[in-house]
Subunit: 260 residues, 2 copies
Protein backbone atom coordinates (compact mmCIF):
# COMPACT_ATOMS: atom_id res chain seq x y z
CA UNK A 1 0.00 0.00 0.00
CA UNK A 2 1.25 3.47 -0.88
CA UNK A 3 2.00 5.69 2.08
CA UNK A 4 -0.07 8.87 2.25
CA UNK A 5 1.55 12.19 1.32
CA UNK A 6 1.46 14.76 4.13
CA UNK A 7 2.25 18.44 3.62
CA UNK A 8 3.53 20.20 6.75
CA UNK A 9 3.68 23.96 7.26
CA UNK A 10 3.40 26.52 10.09
CA UNK A 11 3.57 30.23 10.85
CA UNK A 12 6.38 30.35 13.41
CA UNK A 13 8.98 29.61 10.73
CA UNK A 14 10.93 26.53 9.71
CA UNK A 15 13.23 26.65 12.74
CA UNK A 16 10.47 26.58 15.37
CA UNK A 17 10.35 23.50 17.65
CA UNK A 18 6.60 23.13 17.03
CA UNK A 19 6.97 22.19 13.36
CA UNK A 20 9.71 19.70 14.23
CA UNK A 21 7.33 17.96 16.65
CA UNK A 22 4.65 17.86 13.95
CA UNK A 23 7.05 16.41 11.39
CA UNK A 24 8.03 13.69 13.88
CA UNK A 25 4.40 12.57 14.16
CA UNK A 26 3.64 12.96 10.45
CA UNK A 27 6.56 10.78 9.31
CA UNK A 28 5.18 7.86 11.32
CA UNK A 29 2.05 8.01 9.16
CA UNK A 30 3.23 8.92 5.68
CA UNK A 31 5.69 10.59 3.34
CA UNK A 32 6.27 14.13 4.47
CA UNK A 33 7.05 17.34 2.61
CA UNK A 34 7.68 20.58 4.50
CA UNK A 35 7.17 24.05 3.03
CA UNK A 36 7.45 26.61 5.83
CA UNK A 37 8.04 30.36 6.08
CA UNK A 38 11.67 31.52 6.38
CA UNK A 39 10.72 33.97 9.16
CA UNK A 40 8.08 34.18 11.92
CA UNK A 41 4.66 34.96 10.43
CA UNK A 42 2.41 35.11 13.47
CA UNK A 43 -0.72 37.22 13.04
CA UNK A 44 -0.48 37.23 9.25
CA UNK A 45 -4.02 35.88 8.90
CA UNK A 46 -4.93 34.97 5.33
CA UNK A 47 -2.45 37.45 3.82
CA UNK A 48 -0.95 36.63 0.43
CA UNK A 49 1.98 38.25 -1.35
CA UNK A 50 0.72 40.04 -4.46
CA UNK A 51 3.02 43.02 -4.99
CA UNK A 52 6.34 41.29 -4.31
CA UNK A 53 8.06 38.25 -5.72
CA UNK A 54 8.33 35.08 -3.62
CA UNK A 55 11.48 33.04 -3.23
CA UNK A 56 12.02 29.59 -1.80
CA UNK A 57 14.84 27.10 -1.47
CA UNK A 58 15.49 23.61 -0.13
CA UNK A 59 16.60 23.19 3.50
CA UNK A 60 18.01 20.13 5.29
CA UNK A 61 17.10 20.75 8.93
CA UNK A 62 14.54 17.92 8.96
CA UNK A 63 17.00 15.09 8.23
CA UNK A 64 15.81 12.92 5.35
CA UNK A 65 12.58 14.86 4.90
CA UNK A 66 12.14 16.94 1.71
CA UNK A 67 11.82 20.49 3.00
CA UNK A 68 11.70 24.08 1.72
CA UNK A 69 11.76 27.54 3.19
CA UNK A 70 9.63 30.25 1.55
CA UNK A 71 9.88 34.04 1.80
CA UNK A 72 6.10 34.53 1.89
CA UNK A 73 3.23 34.14 4.32
CA UNK A 74 1.88 30.79 5.55
CA UNK A 75 -0.82 30.95 2.84
CA UNK A 76 1.88 31.63 0.23
CA UNK A 77 3.72 28.51 1.50
CA UNK A 78 0.70 26.34 0.75
CA UNK A 79 0.28 27.90 -2.69
CA UNK A 80 4.00 27.44 -3.49
CA UNK A 81 3.81 23.85 -2.18
CA UNK A 82 0.85 23.03 -4.42
CA UNK A 83 1.88 24.82 -7.61
CA UNK A 84 5.68 24.75 -7.62
CA UNK A 85 6.89 21.98 -5.32
CA UNK A 86 4.24 19.25 -5.54
CA UNK A 87 2.64 20.03 -8.93
CA UNK A 88 0.85 16.76 -9.82
CA UNK A 89 1.38 15.13 -6.42
CA UNK A 90 -1.71 15.95 -4.35
CA UNK A 91 -1.27 15.67 -0.58
CA UNK A 92 -3.68 13.40 1.31
CA UNK A 93 -3.44 15.71 4.30
CA UNK A 94 -2.03 19.11 5.22
CA UNK A 95 -1.06 19.82 8.83
CA UNK A 96 -0.02 23.25 10.08
CA UNK A 97 1.74 24.02 13.36
CA UNK A 98 2.27 23.06 16.04
CA UNK A 99 1.70 26.72 16.79
CA UNK A 100 3.35 28.18 19.86
CA UNK A 101 0.25 29.72 21.49
CA UNK A 102 -3.54 29.44 21.33
CA UNK A 103 -5.58 29.73 18.16
CA UNK A 104 -8.91 29.11 19.87
CA UNK A 105 -12.00 31.29 19.35
CA UNK A 106 -11.46 34.47 17.30
CA UNK A 107 -7.72 33.79 17.03
CA UNK A 108 -8.53 31.62 14.01
CA UNK A 109 -8.96 34.71 11.81
CA UNK A 110 -5.64 36.32 12.84
CA UNK A 111 -3.67 33.08 12.74
CA UNK A 112 -1.21 32.25 9.99
CA UNK A 113 -1.22 28.63 11.18
CA UNK A 114 -4.94 28.24 10.64
CA UNK A 115 -5.00 30.32 7.47
CA UNK A 116 -2.45 27.93 5.94
CA UNK A 117 -4.71 25.01 6.86
CA UNK A 118 -7.70 26.85 5.40
CA UNK A 119 -5.83 27.53 2.17
CA UNK A 120 -5.14 23.80 1.84
CA UNK A 121 -8.82 23.07 2.50
CA UNK A 122 -9.75 25.46 -0.33
CA UNK A 123 -7.65 23.29 -2.61
CA UNK A 124 -9.60 20.22 -1.51
CA UNK A 125 -6.85 18.93 0.79
CA UNK A 126 -8.15 17.78 4.20
CA UNK A 127 -6.27 19.87 6.73
CA UNK A 128 -5.67 20.41 10.42
CA UNK A 129 -4.16 23.34 12.30
CA UNK A 130 -2.54 22.40 15.64
CA UNK A 131 -1.72 24.84 18.45
CA UNK A 132 -0.31 24.35 21.95
CA UNK A 133 -1.25 26.86 24.64
CA UNK A 134 2.38 27.71 25.44
CA UNK A 135 4.09 30.63 23.68
CA UNK A 136 7.63 29.69 24.74
CA UNK A 137 10.15 28.09 22.41
CA UNK A 138 10.88 25.54 25.18
CA UNK A 139 7.25 24.32 25.16
CA UNK A 140 6.79 20.57 25.76
CA UNK A 141 5.04 19.04 22.73
CA UNK A 142 5.39 15.40 23.92
CA UNK A 143 2.04 15.08 25.78
CA UNK A 144 0.20 16.27 22.65
CA UNK A 145 1.80 13.84 20.21
CA UNK A 146 -0.45 10.77 20.74
CA UNK A 147 -3.54 12.93 20.23
CA UNK A 148 -2.09 14.59 17.16
CA UNK A 149 -1.29 11.18 15.70
CA UNK A 150 -4.81 9.96 16.44
CA UNK A 151 -6.41 12.97 14.72
CA UNK A 152 -4.14 12.74 11.68
CA UNK A 153 -4.87 9.00 11.35
CA UNK A 154 -8.60 9.63 11.71
CA UNK A 155 -8.66 12.27 8.95
CA UNK A 156 -6.40 10.21 6.66
CA UNK A 157 -8.88 7.35 7.05
CA UNK A 158 -12.19 9.24 7.04
CA UNK A 159 -11.40 12.41 5.11
CA UNK A 160 -13.10 15.73 5.72
CA UNK A 161 -15.93 17.45 3.88
CA UNK A 162 -14.62 19.54 0.94
CA UNK A 163 -13.62 22.98 2.16
CA UNK A 164 -13.44 21.93 5.81
CA UNK A 165 -10.52 22.00 8.21
CA UNK A 166 -10.01 21.25 11.90
CA UNK A 167 -8.83 23.86 14.38
CA UNK A 168 -7.15 21.85 17.17
CA UNK A 169 -5.92 23.53 20.36
CA UNK A 170 -4.04 21.66 23.07
CA UNK A 171 -3.76 22.70 26.72
CA UNK A 172 -0.21 22.98 28.06
CA UNK A 173 -0.54 20.10 30.54
CA UNK A 174 1.25 16.88 31.44
CA UNK A 175 -0.09 13.88 29.54
CA UNK A 176 -1.98 12.46 32.52
CA UNK A 177 -3.91 15.71 33.04
CA UNK A 178 -5.29 15.93 29.49
CA UNK A 179 -8.86 14.63 29.64
CA UNK A 180 -9.19 13.80 25.93
CA UNK A 181 -10.63 15.34 22.76
CA UNK A 182 -13.71 17.57 22.66
CA UNK A 183 -15.45 18.43 19.37
CA UNK A 184 -16.86 21.92 19.82
CA UNK A 185 -17.76 25.26 18.29
CA UNK A 186 -15.67 28.45 18.12
CA UNK A 187 -16.25 30.52 21.28
CA UNK A 188 -17.48 34.09 20.80
CA UNK A 189 -14.46 35.48 22.65
CA UNK A 190 -12.42 38.51 21.70
CA UNK A 191 -9.35 40.63 22.40
CA UNK A 192 -9.54 43.72 24.56
CA UNK A 193 -6.66 45.72 23.27
CA UNK A 194 -4.63 48.80 23.71
CA UNK A 195 -1.51 50.28 22.20
CA UNK A 196 1.65 51.03 24.14
CA UNK A 197 2.90 54.45 23.09
CA UNK A 198 6.63 55.22 23.08
CA UNK A 199 9.20 57.53 21.49
CA UNK A 200 11.90 56.37 19.09
CA UNK A 201 15.49 57.71 19.34
CA UNK A 202 14.52 60.58 17.01
CA UNK A 203 11.64 61.62 19.25
CA UNK A 204 8.89 60.26 16.96
CA UNK A 205 5.91 58.43 18.49
CA UNK A 206 5.33 54.77 17.77
CA UNK A 207 2.78 52.21 18.97
CA UNK A 208 2.92 48.53 19.89
CA UNK A 209 -0.22 46.43 19.91
CA UNK A 210 -0.95 44.69 23.20
CA UNK A 211 -4.07 43.03 24.52
CA UNK A 212 -5.94 40.64 26.77
CA UNK A 213 -8.09 37.71 25.61
CA UNK A 214 -11.59 37.86 27.06
CA UNK A 215 -14.27 35.17 26.83
CA UNK A 216 -17.83 36.34 27.43
CA UNK A 217 -19.30 33.23 25.78
CA UNK A 218 -20.80 31.16 28.60
CA UNK A 219 -21.54 28.06 26.51
CA UNK A 220 -20.08 24.72 27.62
CA UNK A 221 -19.85 23.62 23.98
CA UNK A 222 -17.01 25.97 22.97
CA UNK A 223 -13.29 25.55 22.38
CA UNK A 224 -12.44 27.95 25.21
CA UNK A 225 -14.60 25.92 27.62
CA UNK A 226 -12.92 22.69 26.50
CA UNK A 227 -9.43 24.12 27.02
CA UNK A 228 -10.36 25.61 30.41
CA UNK A 229 -11.52 22.13 31.39
CA UNK A 230 -8.32 20.37 30.29
CA UNK A 231 -9.65 18.98 27.02
CA UNK A 232 -8.06 19.27 23.59
CA UNK A 233 -10.52 21.33 21.50
CA UNK A 234 -11.40 20.23 17.95
CA UNK A 235 -13.44 22.78 15.96
CA UNK A 236 -14.55 21.82 12.44
CA UNK A 237 -14.12 25.06 10.51
CA UNK A 238 -14.74 26.40 7.01
CA UNK A 239 -14.31 29.38 4.72
CA UNK A 240 -17.97 30.30 4.16
CA UNK A 241 -18.47 33.50 6.18
CA UNK A 242 -22.12 33.98 5.17
CA UNK A 243 -24.32 34.79 8.15
CA UNK A 244 -27.23 32.62 6.96
CA UNK A 245 -29.49 33.63 9.86
CA UNK A 246 -29.30 37.27 8.72
CA UNK A 247 -30.26 36.60 5.08
CA UNK A 248 -34.03 36.76 5.56
CA UNK A 249 -34.27 39.84 7.78
CA UNK A 250 -31.91 41.74 5.51
CA UNK A 251 -34.00 41.02 2.39
CA UNK A 252 -36.01 44.20 2.98
CA UNK A 253 -32.99 46.26 1.97
CA UNK A 254 -33.58 45.11 -1.63
CA UNK A 255 -37.09 46.56 -1.85
CA UNK A 256 -36.19 50.17 -2.38
CA UNK A 257 -36.28 52.23 -5.54
CA UNK A 258 -33.27 54.50 -5.66
CA UNK A 259 -33.29 57.71 -7.67
CA UNK A 260 -29.97 58.55 -9.28
CA UNK B 1 -30.13 65.49 16.64
CA UNK B 2 -26.48 64.48 16.78
CA UNK B 3 -25.02 63.38 13.49
CA UNK B 4 -23.75 59.79 13.44
CA UNK B 5 -19.99 59.15 13.58
CA UNK B 6 -18.68 57.20 10.59
CA UNK B 7 -15.22 55.63 10.48
CA UNK B 8 -13.83 55.21 6.94
CA UNK B 9 -10.92 52.96 5.97
CA UNK B 10 -9.73 50.87 3.02
CA UNK B 11 -6.91 48.64 1.82
CA UNK B 12 -5.79 50.47 -1.32
CA UNK B 13 -4.24 53.27 0.75
CA UNK B 14 -5.31 56.80 1.64
CA UNK B 15 -4.58 58.20 -1.84
CA UNK B 16 -6.85 55.76 -3.72
CA UNK B 17 -9.85 57.31 -5.53
CA UNK B 18 -12.16 54.66 -4.03
CA UNK B 19 -11.84 55.92 -0.46
CA UNK B 20 -12.41 59.51 -1.65
CA UNK B 21 -15.70 58.43 -3.24
CA UNK B 22 -16.70 56.69 -0.01
CA UNK B 23 -15.86 59.75 2.11
CA UNK B 24 -18.01 61.90 -0.20
CA UNK B 25 -21.03 59.69 0.48
CA UNK B 26 -20.31 59.29 4.19
CA UNK B 27 -20.07 63.03 4.89
CA UNK B 28 -23.62 63.50 3.59
CA UNK B 29 -24.81 61.20 6.38
CA UNK B 30 -22.61 61.99 9.36
CA UNK B 31 -19.34 63.16 10.87
CA UNK B 32 -16.49 61.32 9.22
CA UNK B 33 -13.08 60.17 10.47
CA UNK B 34 -10.62 58.49 8.11
CA UNK B 35 -7.85 56.13 9.25
CA UNK B 36 -6.34 54.48 6.17
CA UNK B 37 -3.11 52.61 5.36
CA UNK B 38 -0.19 54.72 4.11
CA UNK B 39 0.54 52.15 1.35
CA UNK B 40 -1.45 49.65 -0.73
CA UNK B 41 -2.46 46.66 1.42
CA UNK B 42 -4.35 44.46 -1.03
CA UNK B 43 -4.40 40.76 -0.13
CA UNK B 44 -3.40 41.38 3.48
CA UNK B 45 -6.43 39.49 4.79
CA UNK B 46 -6.81 39.73 8.56
CA UNK B 47 -3.10 40.33 9.15
CA UNK B 48 -2.09 42.39 12.17
CA UNK B 49 1.29 43.89 13.03
CA UNK B 50 2.69 42.16 16.11
CA UNK B 51 6.47 42.21 15.74
CA UNK B 52 6.88 45.79 14.53
CA UNK B 53 5.79 49.16 15.86
CA UNK B 54 3.00 51.06 14.13
CA UNK B 55 3.13 54.73 13.26
CA UNK B 56 0.41 57.10 12.14
CA UNK B 57 0.01 60.79 11.46
CA UNK B 58 -2.65 63.29 10.43
CA UNK B 59 -3.19 63.97 6.71
CA UNK B 60 -5.19 66.75 5.02
CA UNK B 61 -6.08 65.24 1.64
CA UNK B 62 -9.79 64.97 2.53
CA UNK B 63 -10.41 68.71 2.99
CA UNK B 64 -12.14 69.43 6.31
CA UNK B 65 -12.37 65.75 7.25
CA UNK B 66 -10.24 64.53 10.20
CA UNK B 67 -7.95 61.96 8.61
CA UNK B 68 -4.92 59.82 9.47
CA UNK B 69 -2.51 57.59 7.63
CA UNK B 70 -1.24 54.44 9.38
CA UNK B 71 1.82 52.29 8.66
CA UNK B 72 0.02 49.01 9.39
CA UNK B 73 -2.52 46.72 7.73
CA UNK B 74 -6.21 47.58 7.26
CA UNK B 75 -7.02 45.68 10.48
CA UNK B 76 -4.31 47.68 12.29
CA UNK B 77 -5.99 50.88 11.01
CA UNK B 78 -9.26 49.92 12.68
CA UNK B 79 -7.47 49.04 15.93
CA UNK B 80 -5.51 52.32 15.90
CA UNK B 81 -8.73 54.21 15.10
CA UNK B 82 -10.55 52.65 18.03
CA UNK B 83 -7.82 52.72 20.66
CA UNK B 84 -5.69 55.74 19.82
CA UNK B 85 -7.70 58.14 17.63
CA UNK B 86 -11.31 57.73 18.77
CA UNK B 87 -10.84 56.40 22.32
CA UNK B 88 -14.23 57.08 23.97
CA UNK B 89 -16.00 58.10 20.76
CA UNK B 90 -17.63 54.95 19.37
CA UNK B 91 -18.45 55.05 15.65
CA UNK B 92 -22.05 54.32 14.66
CA UNK B 93 -20.80 52.76 11.44
CA UNK B 94 -17.55 51.68 9.84
CA UNK B 95 -17.26 51.59 6.05
CA UNK B 96 -14.28 50.17 4.20
CA UNK B 97 -13.41 50.72 0.53
CA UNK B 98 -14.48 51.42 -2.07
CA UNK B 99 -12.11 48.65 -3.09
CA UNK B 100 -10.73 48.71 -6.61
CA UNK B 101 -11.70 45.15 -7.65
CA UNK B 102 -14.06 42.36 -6.58
CA UNK B 103 -14.26 40.94 -3.08
CA UNK B 104 -17.06 38.51 -3.89
CA UNK B 105 -17.01 34.82 -2.91
CA UNK B 106 -13.74 33.52 -1.43
CA UNK B 107 -12.05 36.91 -1.96
CA UNK B 108 -13.51 37.95 1.39
CA UNK B 109 -10.85 35.98 3.26
CA UNK B 110 -7.91 37.48 1.31
CA UNK B 111 -9.29 41.01 1.32
CA UNK B 112 -7.87 43.76 3.51
CA UNK B 113 -10.99 45.83 2.79
CA UNK B 114 -13.34 43.20 4.22
CA UNK B 115 -10.99 42.26 7.06
CA UNK B 116 -11.02 45.89 8.22
CA UNK B 117 -14.83 45.81 8.19
CA UNK B 118 -14.78 42.50 10.08
CA UNK B 119 -12.42 43.91 12.70
CA UNK B 120 -14.88 46.77 13.28
CA UNK B 121 -17.72 44.25 13.58
CA UNK B 122 -15.73 42.39 16.26
CA UNK B 123 -15.69 45.64 18.22
CA UNK B 124 -19.47 45.85 17.97
CA UNK B 125 -19.43 48.52 15.26
CA UNK B 126 -21.88 47.81 12.39
CA UNK B 127 -19.74 47.73 9.28
CA UNK B 128 -19.84 47.45 5.51
CA UNK B 129 -17.11 46.64 3.00
CA UNK B 130 -17.68 48.10 -0.49
CA UNK B 131 -15.95 46.93 -3.68
CA UNK B 132 -16.33 47.93 -7.33
CA UNK B 133 -15.53 45.36 -10.01
CA UNK B 134 -12.97 47.59 -11.71
CA UNK B 135 -9.29 47.35 -10.76
CA UNK B 136 -8.23 50.57 -12.49
CA UNK B 137 -7.48 53.80 -10.63
CA UNK B 138 -9.71 55.60 -13.17
CA UNK B 139 -12.76 53.50 -12.19
CA UNK B 140 -16.10 55.36 -12.21
CA UNK B 141 -17.60 55.27 -8.70
CA UNK B 142 -20.52 57.62 -9.51
CA UNK B 143 -23.13 54.99 -10.49
CA UNK B 144 -22.55 53.18 -7.18
CA UNK B 145 -22.96 56.19 -4.90
CA UNK B 146 -26.79 56.25 -4.54
CA UNK B 147 -26.75 52.55 -3.58
CA UNK B 148 -23.90 53.03 -1.14
CA UNK B 149 -25.77 55.90 0.47
CA UNK B 150 -28.94 53.81 0.73
CA UNK B 151 -27.09 50.91 2.40
CA UNK B 152 -25.28 53.17 4.83
CA UNK B 153 -28.55 54.92 5.76
CA UNK B 154 -30.27 51.57 6.21
CA UNK B 155 -27.61 50.23 8.57
CA UNK B 156 -27.39 53.52 10.50
CA UNK B 157 -31.15 53.26 11.03
CA UNK B 158 -31.57 49.52 11.57
CA UNK B 159 -28.19 48.43 12.90
CA UNK B 160 -26.69 45.01 12.31
CA UNK B 161 -26.55 41.94 14.54
CA UNK B 162 -23.48 42.03 16.84
CA UNK B 163 -20.48 40.59 15.03
CA UNK B 164 -22.06 40.95 11.59
CA UNK B 165 -20.87 42.93 8.58
CA UNK B 166 -22.02 43.37 4.98
CA UNK B 167 -19.87 42.41 2.01
CA UNK B 168 -21.13 44.63 -0.84
CA UNK B 169 -19.84 44.21 -4.41
CA UNK B 170 -20.87 46.52 -7.23
CA UNK B 171 -20.72 45.69 -10.95
CA UNK B 172 -18.78 48.16 -13.10
CA UNK B 173 -21.79 49.35 -15.08
CA UNK B 174 -23.49 52.64 -16.00
CA UNK B 175 -26.18 53.62 -13.49
CA UNK B 176 -29.08 52.67 -15.77
CA UNK B 177 -27.76 49.11 -16.22
CA UNK B 178 -27.55 48.30 -12.48
CA UNK B 179 -30.67 46.28 -11.65
CA UNK B 180 -30.64 46.94 -7.88
CA UNK B 181 -29.52 45.23 -4.69
CA UNK B 182 -29.52 41.46 -4.13
CA UNK B 183 -29.08 39.95 -0.65
CA UNK B 184 -27.27 36.67 -1.17
CA UNK B 185 -24.80 34.10 0.14
CA UNK B 186 -21.08 33.82 -0.54
CA UNK B 187 -20.52 31.74 -3.71
CA UNK B 188 -18.32 28.65 -3.38
CA UNK B 189 -15.93 29.96 -6.03
CA UNK B 190 -12.14 29.82 -5.93
CA UNK B 191 -8.89 30.85 -7.57
CA UNK B 192 -7.08 28.56 -9.96
CA UNK B 193 -3.55 29.74 -9.62
CA UNK B 194 -0.07 29.40 -10.87
CA UNK B 195 3.26 31.10 -10.28
CA UNK B 196 5.22 32.88 -12.99
CA UNK B 197 8.86 31.88 -12.65
CA UNK B 198 11.60 34.34 -13.60
CA UNK B 199 15.28 35.11 -12.94
CA UNK B 200 16.49 38.22 -11.11
CA UNK B 201 19.56 40.14 -12.36
CA UNK B 202 21.78 37.91 -10.19
CA UNK B 203 20.42 34.76 -11.80
CA UNK B 204 18.27 33.73 -8.80
CA UNK B 205 14.77 32.34 -9.38
CA UNK B 206 11.73 34.20 -8.11
CA UNK B 207 7.98 33.63 -8.38
CA UNK B 208 4.98 35.89 -8.89
CA UNK B 209 1.52 34.72 -7.93
CA UNK B 210 -1.03 34.83 -10.75
CA UNK B 211 -4.44 33.26 -11.11
CA UNK B 212 -7.91 33.00 -12.58
CA UNK B 213 -11.18 33.25 -10.65
CA UNK B 214 -13.42 30.23 -11.25
CA UNK B 215 -17.01 29.81 -10.08
CA UNK B 216 -18.28 26.23 -9.97
CA UNK B 217 -21.19 27.17 -7.68
CA UNK B 218 -24.33 26.95 -9.82
CA UNK B 219 -26.71 28.50 -7.27
CA UNK B 220 -28.74 31.55 -8.30
CA UNK B 221 -28.62 32.82 -4.70
CA UNK B 222 -24.91 33.73 -4.64
CA UNK B 223 -22.96 36.98 -4.88
CA UNK B 224 -21.25 35.84 -8.09
CA UNK B 225 -24.65 35.13 -9.68
CA UNK B 226 -25.96 38.54 -8.62
CA UNK B 227 -22.94 40.35 -10.09
CA UNK B 228 -23.09 38.32 -13.32
CA UNK B 229 -26.72 39.42 -13.61
CA UNK B 230 -26.00 43.14 -13.08
CA UNK B 231 -27.09 43.30 -9.44
CA UNK B 232 -25.15 44.75 -6.52
CA UNK B 233 -24.48 41.81 -4.18
CA UNK B 234 -25.02 42.20 -0.42
CA UNK B 235 -23.73 39.27 1.67
CA UNK B 236 -24.32 39.39 5.44
CA UNK B 237 -21.09 37.97 6.83
CA UNK B 238 -19.56 37.07 10.20
CA UNK B 239 -16.46 35.83 11.97
CA UNK B 240 -17.73 32.48 13.25
CA UNK B 241 -15.98 29.91 11.04
CA UNK B 242 -17.46 26.87 12.80
CA UNK B 243 -18.78 24.30 10.34
CA UNK B 244 -21.88 23.46 12.42
CA UNK B 245 -23.04 20.75 10.01
CA UNK B 246 -19.82 18.83 10.66
CA UNK B 247 -20.05 18.89 14.48
CA UNK B 248 -22.21 15.78 14.86
CA UNK B 249 -20.44 13.46 12.43
CA UNK B 250 -17.08 14.41 13.86
CA UNK B 251 -18.14 13.57 17.44
CA UNK B 252 -16.93 9.98 16.97
CA UNK B 253 -13.35 11.21 17.01
CA UNK B 254 -13.75 11.86 20.75
CA UNK B 255 -14.57 8.26 21.60
CA UNK B 256 -11.10 6.82 21.53
CA UNK B 257 -8.80 5.87 24.36
CA UNK B 258 -5.27 6.88 23.53
CA UNK B 259 -2.29 5.16 25.08
CA UNK B 260 0.63 7.46 25.74
Amino acid sequence: MQRPLILVTNDDGSAAPGIRALVEVAKELGDVIVVAPDSPQSGKGHAITIDDPIRFHAIDIFGEIEAYECSGTPVDCVKIAKHVVLKDRKPDLCVSGINHGSNAAINIIYSGTLSAAMEASLEGIPSIGFSLLDYSFSADFEPAKPYIKHLMSYILENGLEHGSLLNVNIPALPYEDIKGLKVCRQADARWVEEFQEALDPRGQKYYWLTGKFVNEDEGDDTDVWALDNNYISVVPSMHDLTNYKALDTLKEVEAVTIES
